[in-house]
């Protein structure tokens, strides 16, 4: 192998390593602390999944096995029709429960058909049929009153 070829290959590898260092650095600090969630430094800002990934393990022990539960960030105090981010996060984080879509807690759903539990991320949930069971900095847990 010629010296020039080796030098070029090494230089390219080092440039990529430098780019990798730059990429990791720009994900933001703190740089040597154990992150709380697996998305803490995915971007320089706060990731849309972060609150759900902190909140859901906290509400998990409060939910019975097999309970029907939905998870979303309320819009103006109400359940949105869809919230892919928080709903799918709940599917993975609540493996012992039956996670249903956010529209099962919308205002027009008949009381007997409402999801039994609601995990409201960040903002409070104002549906009159639900009672707050627990509150955390990242959100709240509610249960329907039948």
């Amino acid at each position: 192998m010629r010296r020039a070829e080796r030098a070029v290959l090494t230089a390219l590898a080092l440039l990529l390593v430098a780019a990798l260092v730059g990429r990791l650095y720009t994900r933001g600090g703190p740089y040597f602390e154990r992150p709380e969630t697996i998305v803490d430094h995915v971007g320089p800002g706060k990731h849309e999944l972060r609150d759900a990934l902190i909140l859901l393990p906290k509400v998990r022990p409060l939910l019975p096995r097999g309970a029907e539960v939905t998870c979303f960030r309320p819009v103006n105090g109400w359940a949105p029709e869809g919230d892919t981010v928080n709903f799918f996060a709940a599917v993975g984080q609540l493996p012992y429960q039956n996670v249903v879509p956010p529209f099962t807690a919308m205002f027009h759903v008949r009381r007997e058909n409402l999801a039994e539990y609601v995990v409201a991320v960040r903002d409070p949930f104002a549906h009159p049929a639900y009672k707050e069971l627990a509150a955390f900095p990242e959100g709240r847990l509610y249960r329907v009153q039948r």
Partner: protein, 412 residues
Amino acid sequence: MKDVLWVLGIVLVTGFGLVTWRIPLVRGLDLGARIAIAFAGGCVVLAVLMFGFALVHVPFTRVTLLIALVVFAALAPLTRRFAPPSPRTAGRGVFAAILALTAYGLLTARETCADLVYFWGPKGQRFYFAETIDVAFLSFPHYSLMHPDYPPLLPLVYAFAASIAHGFSWWGALFTMLLLLLATTLAFRGLAREALGDERASAYAVLLAALLAYGYARSMVAGAGEPMLLLFETIAIAALTFRDDGELLAAIALAGAAWTKVEGTAFVAIVVVAYIVTRRRVVRAVALAAPAIVLVGSWLLFAREHKFLDQYARAGETMHLENLGKVLGATARQASYGAFYLPWLAGAVPFAFAKNWRRAMLPLLVFGGLVASAIYFYLHDNAPLWWIESSAERVLLSALMTLLVAAAAASE
């Protein structure tokens, strides 16, 4: 402790693939390459085995899976001698730095793919809890955005690790990417060594590791299917490019690629066409694709039977050629990888030392096919910009890898 056991579970998958050491090509490789190929082969064997278990209603438990592991490990020719290890070369320090930086990026949550949270993880976890491929979960209509008919290899490997650890480890799923990067590099070096010599094979392996490490960090694929897909694709391309006896190993790797991601099926088709063009052996080309065809066909039949066909059922969508300019522009912008196209330069500049264009033909054809297929798929979306912005960096990783393999082959 659960995280450590989970990663140990991933390492244990290698035991299912030790049987690949019976392949004459693999028998002649150094230990690192043999272990890497055993790991890749183990993922294929394990996924097929678990799929078989699901079909005949044998539950995925520690006992059933470990008994199977012992049976497969017993078939391995463990007493045969390895090829001597590669001599120490100057690139080892750079390689160690790449692995250390990647480990740092993973453990500080800088490379996580959101799809791990959205569907790769939940599927693996659900298969573990259900002790089978949970068709009720996959066919639940409100989970359709989880791509229920996506090939099952990665969730099944995750379910195996969860069985070993008695629980799902999100951090373990992230850390798996480091093992996959290591395995990809070692497999490439081992397969290229005979054709390129120790020093050149090692130098290109380090460059490949650097390229993939940056590409993975930039496109954030930790926990998702791409690192596994790239392992299979690299083994397939390297086996066909650098070895005259690489067809059997390539066929296994192609089957793994097709069972990891939908893109893997397109990769198999492109490789088969490139193989026919460069080798002019149609029967061997069919044999090369046969395991992939059988696996994908079985999975599609299974999905159709249980009514969760989704992505594969969209094959008939119309093409929007009017979007060509928009698609090319957006893909070209994403292809810069935020580094002034450095990854492409890393694949292209070594061609300055090209001597053997004939050996490079197959990976070059595959490279062209992969770029063309990415554009082709993007043209099937009416409003493709969001899709391109969220996926092009990941999709083009395969093309980058083949370009570098072609450069290495041409340098012989």
